[in-house]
Symmetry: C3
Subunit: 206 residues, 3 copies
């Protein structure tokens, strides 16, 4: 089941990046690059930070083909792909959950402390969209007041790490953590939940 979700997570992240690129008038090469950066950015940073080799997409090459295929299809039939966007929330939420739990699990396997594992989970879950925003020359979305995102990744990592510390088997704690993160993400998007601290008005621009 995990490989299916992983595939869905990579595909959803890649599509998120590709759709952003379509709006900005990227050509097929640009779509491919922004799709790959969004899908692989978080996991790559985690692997670099933990000095893991080979990188996860070097190990699982078929993920590259998935992103290539999506970019090619999107370049040829952009309008059709744009119509998928409303349904992207499902794989996006699942992907956020899976990436964050996978990130934390990888860090635990490398002997990291729970704090570092949680940080790696959040980085893996969210950095792809940050890098996509930087490439598209916008202030990263998750840094501004927008539906909970990093918080969902953190919840997923915490649920999984709590399970670890209670010696609950990963086959139970991981699906639970992924579900928790994905559910919170779906609720946040639907109900427009944001971090309950608004700051925009409180400091004058310099």
């Amino acid at each position: 089941m995990i490989p299916t979700i992983e595939l869905a997570a990579v595909a959803a992240s890649a599509l998120y990046g590709i759709l952003r690129g379509l709006r900005d008038g990227f050509d097929i090469v640009g779509l491919l690059c922004v799709g790959a950066a969004t899908a692989f950015g978080g996991g790559t940073l985690r692997d670099l930070f933990l000095d893991r080799t080979p990188l996860f997409w070097v190990e699982h090459e078929y993920l590259l083909w998935v992103v290539f295929g999506l970019a090619a299809v999107s370049a040829v039939t952009p309008r059709m792909v744009a119509r998928i966007e409303p349904y992207l929330i499902w794989p996006d939420a699942l992907g956020l959950g899976l990436f964050s739990v996978a990130g934390a699990a990888v860090a635990v396997n490398e002997g990291m402390s729970p704090l570092i594992a949680a940080v790696m989970g959040v980085i893996t879950g969210t950095f792809g969209s940050v890098i996509c925003d930087v490439i598209c020359n916008e202030t990263p979305n998750i840094f501004r007041t927008s539906p909970l995102c990093a918080t969902c990744a953190l919840l997923g990592a915490i649920v999984y790490l709590t399970g670890e510390s209670l010696a609950i088997p990963a086959t139970i704690s991981q699906p639970l953590a992924i579900t928790a993160a994905a559910t919170l993400r779906l609720l946040a998007v639907w109900r427009k939940w944001i971090v309950p601290v608004r700051l925009l008005e409180s400091v004058e621009p310099a």
Copy 2:
């Protein structure tokens, strides 16, 4: 004494990033991320370039808690934190000095040549603020005509490396180098010293 300065350096860098985030309307998650990126960016890049593991903030986890705490306090009392800004120049200058000397020292310990050590010192001292500018979607400040910054980091690295080549003990050369870099930085900010080559008017925009 070094741990105290290191703590001050990380805290000052984090606050620099957090204050930038406050002005741009970031929420608490964004503040945390931009604070961490500014405080840890330079050292992380150095550690990646030199293939050192674990990264310095993975090794010294308490630094993460410091950044988390600052982001939380800043999100709750943004106006109060904004009032600290004028005094930030002190830990900022100390931090620049310490980060650049620490960066060069780490490279020397890894067997690097003086040139590479100086480059690593400048990267460690300045890259945090570069990454902060990129995240906040501005052309990095230190690349434009602004008070000396990379030059101060370079001075610190050079003083330390000269000490090394003269076999002066690190307990003497390091404080000296940190003081030199911090003093130059303070003078540059107060007297608005800039690199003495202005270029803005000399080439037409394309």
Copy 3:
């Protein structure tokens, strides 16, 4: 012959970044940083992704001096350097060819598959200019409709990798691949060849 081309490639990439910096009013420190980032960005990313140490510019320190020298000369005589720009296309095309073939060759030596080697070739050949665009706060040029660039890098990597799989010696396949990539790049710039899929009008901005 290869060292000469490598030197030309680094110098051309550095000049490309420096000229961009000149237009944006960077001071000498900024020119140095943007020049180094453009010249070394792609190869550094490849080395990090493949976990190679030391990085190529740490190993070949003279490349740093070349970039330093170019930045210094450009800061002092910006108008003269700006006049070189029209001729930059030659070393730029050669550099693209060399960097992409070198990137693929390094990956093959590390035991990577042809797909990963091709990806590394494209990253090495093109990422320098992407990072330059991000620093200068623009949407990366190669992602938009502009003369073929990543495609040329890909062609170079594919020609070389085809040679490898046919057991043709590198002394033959590498010059051939570099020539193929450089020729396509020159033709693309002169004849304004672009990727034959235009998307700008096809999706409404969100």
